[in-house]
């Protein structure tokens, strides 16, 4: 209503012509239509999730009063309904996003319900891991056939659950193979989605969920092999950071910055962990021996490091180092320090502290250069975190620690003030 009044006012004041006014009005009308369409999809998916969850909860009540054949028929009923709905969607409502997403999410949830009920009816043994795996295998075709974005989000969430459930298992090789197959199977869909709709809710969710899933998935190999996992994780986090810096993902808001934020925070976090001397002693007493199981962790460390190195070459394909940020080559430095740490752990620990300090200084410098308060303060926070860590494990006097904290606190005020004054002057 207010837009209509404003447009009339602008026409009367001869600021815009009638045809321009018509164009403006039709533009805002189309925006309304797409936002109401999006709302419908959201409600359809929510409705499907609630219905599916309700069915699962009811099924968990245990229907031991019914005869077995009836329970088996009822177990398949929601699944049949889901398949009919999906079939109807494909044949009659293929253009409707609400139908696609709603019916596919419903079918995925009913698959789980059916497996759960049959397990109940026949008291089948089997752990939650096997249940999730079977559910994922049966849900995967639905993601592709129905082109279901929310289906892919649910699938990746299940992969995180699967990875967590495998921790500490005896068959870690088999679990790692299964995890790789399961997550690998959905990557083509994810990639196609990022090309087709690079800015959408589902893609934003996946930009967070996929790296989180891979972080947990790599952890499957950590059992008995903690020694090499530092290198594996540092390279993986570096790779995530570089993916997050790609033009197609960068500068599209925090909601789509999963790779960047996880990579950046994870790298700093891991460096801070390795800045403690106790961790170096622990690291080399776990897994870095001649045990054959360590071989698999070593292979994963090498493969992921090579991928990260390829990412680094890609970012610096012009050979000028201009596209590289301080965090990108950190994994290479870490590999060198990791090897050094086997012979001189004390030296590696000290150098790690300098690496963190260097990243912080470069980050502050970048914040000042780009006039970005967020980046600048992030650099100061890294220094603060480093100080807090050293607070606990060094023999510095309380006075010196206090002075260092005051210096950083003053730096917060001074540097922020300089930036704000500069902005006001401009």
């Amino acid at each position: 209503m207010s837009l209509k009044i404003d447009i009339e006012e602008l026409i009367n004041a001869q600021v815009i012509s009638q045809s321009t006014a018509d164009d403006i009005a039709s533009y805002y009308k189309s925006k309304e239509a797409s936002s109401s369409g999006r709302l419908l999809v959201i409600f359809a998916v929510l409705g499907a999730i609630l219905i599916g969850s309700g069915i699962i909860l009811i099924l968990a009540h245990n229907w031991d009063q019914m005869p077995r054949f009836l329970k088996t028929i009822i177990a398949f009923l929601p699944l049949i309904v889901g398949q009919v709905l999906c079939g109807y969607t494909l044949s009659r409502k293929s253009d409707s996003k609400a139908w696609r997403e709603g019916s596919s999410v419903f079918l995925i949830l009913t698959i789980g319900a059916c497996i759960a009920l049959v397990s109940q009816i026949y008291n089948l043994p089997g752990d939650l891991r096997g249940f999730i795996r079977g559910w994922m295998i049966l849900a995967l075709p639905i993601v592709y056939i129905m082109y279901s974005r929310m289906g892919s989000v649910l699938y990746v969430m299940a992969s995180i659950q699967f990875a967590i459930l495998t921790f500490g298992g005896h068959d870690f090789l088999g679990d790692a193979a299964w995890y790789s197959l399961l997550i690998g199977a959905v990557i083509p869909f994810y990639y196609h989605l990022t090309k087709e709709r690079p800015v959408s809710n589902a893609v934003n969710f996946l930009h967070w969920l996929v790296p989180i899933s891979i972080l947990f998935g790599v952890g499957i190999l950590a059992h008995y092999n903690e020694g090499f996992m530092g290198v594996t994780y540092m390279s993986l986090l570096g790779l995530f950071y570089m993916i997050g810096h790609r033009d197609s993902i960068q500068n599209k808001g925090i909601s789509s910055s999963g790779y960047l934020i996880i990579g950046a925070l994870g790298t700093i976090g891991l460096l801070l962990v390795f800045s403690f001397d106790g961790f170096w002693e622990w690291n080399y007493s776990h897994g870095t021996n001649d045990d054959s199981k360590t071989l698999y962790a070593m292979i994963s460390a090498i493969i992921i490091s090579l991928l990260a190195f390829a990412g680094l070459i890609y970012h610096d394909r012009q050979g000028t180092l201009d596209n590289l940020t301080p965090v990108m080559p950190v994994f290479l430095v870490f590999i060198a320090l990791f090897v050094l740490g086997k012979y001189q752990p004390g030296l590696s620990q000290i150098l790690i502290n300098f690496v963190i300090l260097a990243i912080a200084i470069f980050t502050i410098k970048s914040g000042v250069k780009h006039d970005h308060l967020g980046i600048l303060n992030y650099g100061l926070i890294i220094i603060t975190a480093l100080l807090i860590c050293r607070f606990f494990d060094t023999d510095l006097t309380f006075v010196l620690r206090g002075v260092l904290f005051i210096v950083v606190g003053v730096a917060f005020f001074v540097v922020n003030n300089i930036i704000l004054k500069r902005r006001r002057a401009q």
Binding site: D64, R68, T72, Q120, Y122, N123, P125, L128, F131
Partner: protein, 168 residues
């Protein structure tokens, strides 16, 4: 799988496995009681010449003991030469001269209101050795199906309801 299980229930041989229930929960599949079997407390001799390791799957031939309950008479590494009823088990640990096994039929799903009372009731009557708790398992060609758990001759759900009614 459903047809195999139905065929086992209708045509298989029923065995009573003595057991003791514990009560956990599965968020997706409902309330169940975990069963631990007396045959799991037995130490089994290793066959000379065979190599064993933890988590290995073995095949135990099943027979009826003198007390009418199932016993595992022998453990084989392969199911191909077995002519009697048998069940797949998993090695829990390998000691110097014996093995400890785990029977995979460790879950019996119950109505959630009955599962915990079932466990408490059976635990409280453990000392009374005249009360027998056993799982009724149908076996056919190595496929086991757990059909019910009995306490003192009654299905466990019925036993719990009767005890709850008598208390009220």
């Amino acid at each position: 799988m459903i047809f195999n299980n139905e065929e086992t229930i209708s045509k298989g041989t029923e065995y009573k496995f003595k057991c003791m229930p514990i009560d956990p929960n599965d968020p997706f599949r409902g309330k169940y009681i975990t069963l631990s079997y007396e045959v799991e407390n037995t130490e089994y001799d290793q066959t000379i010449g065979e190599e064993y390791f933890s988590d290995q799957v073995l095949y135990g031939t099943v027979d009826v003991g003198p007390d009418g309950f199932a016993i595992i008479t022998h453990l084989y590494t392969s199911e191909s030469d077995i002519s009697e009823d048998y069940i797949a088990v998993r090695i829990v640990y390998v000691a110097q001269d014996h093995l400890k096994i785990d029977v995979p039929l460790d879950r019996f799903y119950m109505e959630e209101a009955l599962a915990q009372p079932a466990e408490k009731l059976v635990q409280s009557q453990r000392r009374d050795t005249s009360i027998q708790v056993y799982a009724l398992v149908s076996l056919l060609r190595g496929n086991p199906v757990l059909t019910d758990v009995y306490v003192d001759g009654d299905p466990i759900a019925e036993y719990v309801r009767l005890n709850q009614d008598s208390k009220n």
